[in-house]
Structures are given as structure tokens and as C-alpha cells.
């Protein structure tokens, strides 16, 4: 009987730990945007955000046209098809907070005192 009790407690502890860490959800590793044949996947980890948008040279820096979707861990993602070339981008959190991407292939000054991320789509990626 004692052994069943120990086993039950261990199982419960494992379930609680997994639920707390969010490991039950399929883990998606954070990465810089990388072009694939299906498009470019943009990712940002902001569990506290109410909304995250992608703004860049490809959408005339619109803070509303490309909204990311949130997963259970607070990672926001969006797949976008972009033409070959260099594209500049930033994330817009909660509609007004413009942030430089924590992960990007390269960065460039935006001329206003901040930095834009760069994502490159090569002809071979398409």
C-alpha cells in the first residue's frame, strides 16, 4: 500500500511540475526569423503582452495589419510570405510599444535612435 501511495504522489508531483512549466505544450524553440519555402516565421516571447504585431518595410510599417498569435507559453508567432530581398522589421507590443527584435539575422540603425531587425529572403528560399 505504501508503495502505491509513493507512486501516486510522484505522479502528481510530475503532473504539477509539467503543468507549471508549460511543458505539456509542444515546445517551439525561439529563433531569429528564417526564410523557408513556406514563408518566414517570426517569433517573440512576451507572455505579458495583450497583442503583438509585426511592422516592417514590407507592410509600410503598419502596426495593425500583421498580428501574431500567442501560444500557451506566451510565445507569439506569425508566418509571412515575403519576396526575396532584405526586409526591415520591428515588433509592436500592445499597439504602441515598438521593440527591436531580440533575435534577427542582422540589425541596422533606423535613423531615429532605435534599431531595426533585418530578415533576408534569398532567391533560393522561395
Amino acid at each position: 500500500m505504501l508503495s502505491w501511495s509513493i507512486r501516486l504522489r510522484a505522479t502528481l508531483a510530475l503532473v504539477v511540475t509539467l503543468a507549471a512549466s508549460g511543458s505539456c505544450a509542444p515546445a517551439m524553440k525561439l529563433s531569429a526569423p528564417v526564410a523557408t519555402s513556406a514563408g518566414v516565421r517570426f517569433m517573440l516571447e512576451r507572455p505579458d503582452a495583450r497583442s503583438v504585431a509585426l511592422a516592417g518595410s514590407f507592410n509600410q510599417w503598419s502596426a495593425t495589419s500583421h498580428l501574431l498569435s500567442r501560444d500557451a507559453r506566451g510565445v507569439w508567432t506569425l508566418m509571412v510570405v515575403l519576396p526575396p530581398g532584405e526586409h526591415l522589421f520591428m515588433y509592436v507590443v500592445n499597439g504602441s510599444e515598438w521593440i527591436t527584435p531580440p533575435l534577427a539575422e542582422d540589425y541596422v540603425d533606423d535613423g531615429f535612435g532605435a534599431r531595426n531587425g533585418i530578415v533576408v529572403v534569398r532567391p533560393a528560399d522561395r
Binding site: 508503495s3 529563433s31 531569429a32 510599417w61 533575435l103 539575422e105 542582422d106 541596422v108 533576408v120
Partner: protein
């Protein structure tokens, strides 16, 4: 003939502006004389009317104004920026990078007068320098290609490449067997060099690397990638673990871009599932052989049964 075409275009835009003025002031009489005045000026003096210097399309100007006024800003501030773009285009500079930068600045909520305007003026200066270089080094360049070359070269200049370095790059990349580097090729090469400069590596060695890549026929995007890869490996090059001379030698031997940095195109954070897999034919897997049940030795008693 071309001049006449431009004048006609300017006149047409003059008409559109006149129509808007009229709509705003509700002075219907203007409709009759203002476009006609533009035409009259053209016919009499052979020059477009003052408003005809307008080069930012009205729809674009309106979109910029809306972007700013929606946040409580004033249309006049945006018009001041549009005037700057018009000044630039009157000098033959491309308008697109400037209007894009205005849109970016306004979208990000920067003050048009204190922040956006200085950035636009700085960009104009770089475009002007780049334009002068393209005129000097590739006088035959024209149209869209020329505008793209000027824009890219201006970006390189913005990242720290000097006009002297651009000239030296063109000289170093020239071969007796090939025609001189075009404005487009030169702009890509300069942009590639700018990445190497950003990594604070010796410019002479960087120039040699990029010039060799040009001579070996690297595509524009491959030259940009080359510069970026060097910049990404900045620490290796600065510590001596990698060398620009060795890189140049590898390019001269005929190594292609995908052979130069085999392990770095895919960032380390990238999930393995996203890596492109080469299409390979896999042999059909043989059926799993049936294994005999393992014979386990008797175990000593554990506390489980205690």
C-alpha cells in the same frame, strides 16, 4: 521629348493639386482657372508651374498626413517633410526611400520636426553623395536600376563606407577581361564592404575580399551575405581564428558562397525541424525482426513488498 513628357506629367499633377485646393476652399471659380494657368505658364515659358514640382503622389501625401493626424499631429508638419522629398526629386534623387523613411518615422510616433526631419535631411545627403558616385562611375545607368543603385549605395555610405573606398573597391574589382562594374554591382559590393567595416576589420582586407567575390561572379545577394557572414564571425576574425586573407584566397580558388561558411547560414537558435532537408530517396525499411523474450535473472527482494 522626354522633357515634354515630364512637363505633361507635372501638369497633370498640377491639375490634381488644383482640384484639391478647390475642394478645400469651396471656391468653385478656381476650378476654371488654376489648371488652365498651369497650362498657360507651360505654353508661354516652356516651364512647369511651381506646383508642378510636386513629386510625391497626392494619395501618398494624404496617407502620410492621415498617419500623423490620427495621432493628433498637424498636417503642416507632414507637408514640410513632403516638401523636402520634392526638393530631393528635383535634384534627381529617388523619392521612394525618403517617403518610406517618413512613413516609418511617423508610424513609430516620432516627432516630425525634431526627429523625422533631421533623419530625412541626413538621408538626402547620403543619397546625393551616392547619386554623384553613380553618375561618376556608371554614367550609363538609368531608370529603376539607377534609383536602386543609388539607394543601396546610400545605405552603404550610411553604414560608414567612404567615397574613396567605393572608388578603390571599383578599381580593385575591375579586370581587364570584363566590363567595368555597373552601378548596381558597385552598390552591392559597397554594402558588403560596409558590413565588414561595421565589424571593425581592416578595410583594405575587406576590400580585397569583396573585390575578389565580384571578380568571381558572385551575385549581389551573395556579396551581401558574404559581408554579413564576416560580420557575424567578427570575433573569429578579430582574434585571428579566421582570416580575411584566407577567405579571399578561398574565393579566388573558386569556392562558392555556400562553401565558404558551411555551418553558419542557419542560426544556432533555429529549431532542427525548420532546417531544409535535401530530397533523398529512402530505402524501404525492412520489417522488424521478432526478438526472443529476454531471460531475466531472479532479482533479490526489494522494499516494495515489505
Amino acid at each position: 521629348m522626354m522633357g515634354l513628357g515630364q512637363e505633361m506629367e507635372s501638369w497633370l499633377s498640377g491639375q490634381r493639386i488644383a482640384r484639391r485646393l478647390v475642394m478645400r476652399r469651396r471656391g468653385f471659380a478656381l476650378v476654371r482657372w488654376l489648371p488652365g494657368a498651369s497650362t498657360l505658364l507651360m505654353l508661354l515659358f516652356g516651364v512647369p508651374a511651381p506646383v508642378a514640382a510636386q513629386s510625391v503622389p497626392l494619395a501618398e501625401r494624404d496617407a502620410l498626413v492621415k498617419l500623423h493626424t490620427d495621432r493628433g499631429g498637424r498636417a503642416e508638419d507632414v507637408d514640410a517633410l513632403v516638401r523636402l522629398v520634392n526638393e530631393a526629386t528635383a535634384k534627381g534623387l529617388p523619392a521612394t526611400p525618403l517617403t518610406n523613411k517618413i512613413r516609418e518615422g511617423l508610424a513609430k510616433g516620432y516627432d516630425p520636426r525634431r526627429v523625422v526631419e533631421p533623419a530625412i535631411r541626413q538621408m538626402m545627403a547620403r543619397l546625393e553623395t551616392a547619386d554623384g558616385l553613380v553618375r561618376e562611375l556608371d554614367p550609363a545607368a538609368g531608370g529603376v536600376t539607377r534609383a536602386a543603385s543609388v539607394t543601396l549605395l546610400a545605405e552603404a555610405i550610411g553604414s560608414g563606407v567612404t567615397t574613396a573606398e567605393v572608388r578603390e573597391l571599383r578599381r580593385a574589382a575591375s579586370t581587364s577581361s570584363k566590363p567595368p562594374l555597373s552601378g548596381e554591382g558597385l552598390a552591392s559590393a559597397a554594402k558588403g564592404l560596409s558590413s565588414i567595416k561595421e565589424a571593425q576589420l581592416p578595410v583594405a582586407d575587406g576590400t580585397a575580399v569583396v573585390a575578389e567575390a565580384v571578380r568571381q561572379g558572385f551575385q549581389s545577394y551573395e556579396i551581401l551575405d558574404l559581408g554579413r557572414e564576416v560580420k557575424r564571425r567578427e570575433a573569429d576574425y578579430r582574434s585571428g581564428r579566421a582570416s580575411l586573407r584566407a577567405l579571399r584566397d578561398a574565393i579566388a580558388r573558386g569556392d562558392r558562397p555556400d562553401q565558404l561558411f558551411r555551418d553558419s547560414r542557419i542560426p544556432p537558435e533555429r529549431p532542427a525541424s525548420a532546417r531544409p532537408e535535401p530530397a533523398v530517396e529512402r530505402p524501404t525499411r525492412p520489417e522488424t525482426p521478432t526478438r526472443p523474450e529476454p531471460v531475466r535473472p531472479d532479482r533479490p527482494a526489494t522494499g516494495r513488498n515489505r
